[in-house]
């Protein structure tokens, strides 16, 4: 695959890449490292993509594995953004209505508070992956996925009962 085709694939899947990077590395000044690492992994291995699953599913798997394994990247560290910090994915301020904004902040807060693996499950669930697909991507049983989703629901009720 040439670079232009690769950029096209990335552009088509920019939302999921941004959501994963943002969930695993909420600090924008450090997020570029994770974005770069994920792009490198995708580039190096896209030749191994055999079409058995959707390209978005494959990208999800590679990106999640990279984000979970990022033993060199310190996403908790807060650096001041420098002029050289260029993001691969940038989100200009766009207008939310206040209710949506509040709910999105709550959701991000919930995701940020989760463990790395729960986060992966939550992202897949929110992006409408079926229970069976989530089980396959994560490598756990269907019933295990169902149990975890129920647990997340229960946590939500406890944490956000006021909303």
């Amino acid at each position: 695959m040439d670079k232009e085709k690769f950029i096209q694939v990335i552009t088509e899947n920019k939302n999921l890449l941004y959501k994963i990077c943002n969930s695993y590395c909420p600090n924008p000044s450090n997020r570029q490292d994770l974005e770069q690492e994920i792009l490198l992994q995708l580039w190096k291995n896209i030749k191994n993509f055999d079409g058995r699953v959707k390209i978005s599913t494959w990208i999800y798997k590679v990106a999640l594995n990279t984000a979970i394994s990022n033993f060199r990247l310190d996403c908790k560290r807060v650096d001041k953004p420098s002029e050289n910090d260029l993001a691969y994915f940038s989100l200009p301020d766009f207008e939310y209505d206040s209710e949506f904004d509040e709910k999105l902040q709550l959701l991000n807060k919930l995701i940020n508070g989760m463990s790395k693996l729960d986060k992966a499950l939550m992202l897949l669930y929110l992006d409408n992956y079926k229970q069976k697909e989530i089980a396959e991507i994560l490598g756990i049983s269907d019933s295990n996925v169902a149990t975890k989703v129920n647990r997340i629901k229960q946590n939500l009720r406890e944490k956000f009962s006021n909303y």
Partner: protein, 205 residues
């Protein structure tokens, strides 16, 4: 809020991203994609270098041990060095074997993360072995290495050797213990915790 409501928020967020999120294509074009080293590749490269280097070192040590075997003291030193080099090489081969088995792109996330943990645990154990045996290795190998590399017979200078041994023991062990405690032990604890987390995640019913 219920989970279904959050899904709706997420879906609206996705729509907003589709409309507003920009991919910096120029930055991707400028990336040296073919030659860039990724974090995932580093351990593999590191272990390959270790295995090749370890093998060459072991070969050199064995060759010189045989060559210098007329002096039994150097022979003993050479054998100890060979044993140390052999164990280090075997540990490097084991590490390389662990890392090449990881299929980042086809296996499930849990399987990959478990393999990564196995590699990390072996890596930290090897570092511990190297740190704790390092001072003894320096003491045992010095007579042989000095003779093989410079022709110096350290047994002709017993006082100097004894002082060297004392310095290595007095400084080497506290430094080794400190490095292991501050660099590797904490990482090992984090790795163990993550393994526990994975096991719990995998078995929760």
């Amino acid at each position: 809020m219920e989970l279904e409501e959050l899904k709706k928020v997420w879906s609206d967020y996705d729509k907003k991203l589709t409309e507003n999120l920009k991919t910096n294509n120029e930055l991707i074009r400028k990336m040296n994609l073919n030659n860039a080293k990724s974090t995932m590749d580093t351990p593999k490269r590191y272990e390959i270098v270790n295995v090749i280097g370890g093998f060459v070192f072991l070969l050199a040590v064995i060759t010189y041990t045989i060559k210098l075997s007329t002096d039994y003291r150097v022979l003993v030193s050479g054998i100890l060095t060979s044993v140390w080099a052999m164990i280090s090489l075997l540990l490097s081969v084991r590490l390389l074997n662990s890392i090449v088995k990881v299929d980042f792109y086809n296996d499930s996330i849990i399987k990959i993360q478990k393999q990564m943990i196995k590699y990390k645990k072996q890596f930290f154990s090897m570092k511990k072995y190297m740190l704790y045996t390092g001072p003894v290795f320096v003491i045992a190998a010095f007579p042989f290495l000095a003779k093989a590399m410079t022709g110096l017979d350290i047994f002709m200078l017993p006082v100097n050797y004894a002082v060297g041994v004392a310095i290595v023991l007095i400084i080497g062990y506290p430094v080794s213990i400190w490095i292991n405690k501050h660099w590797y032990e904490n990482k090992m604890i984090d790795t163990e915790k993550f393994l526990e987390e994975i096991n719990k995640f995998e078995t929760e019913q």
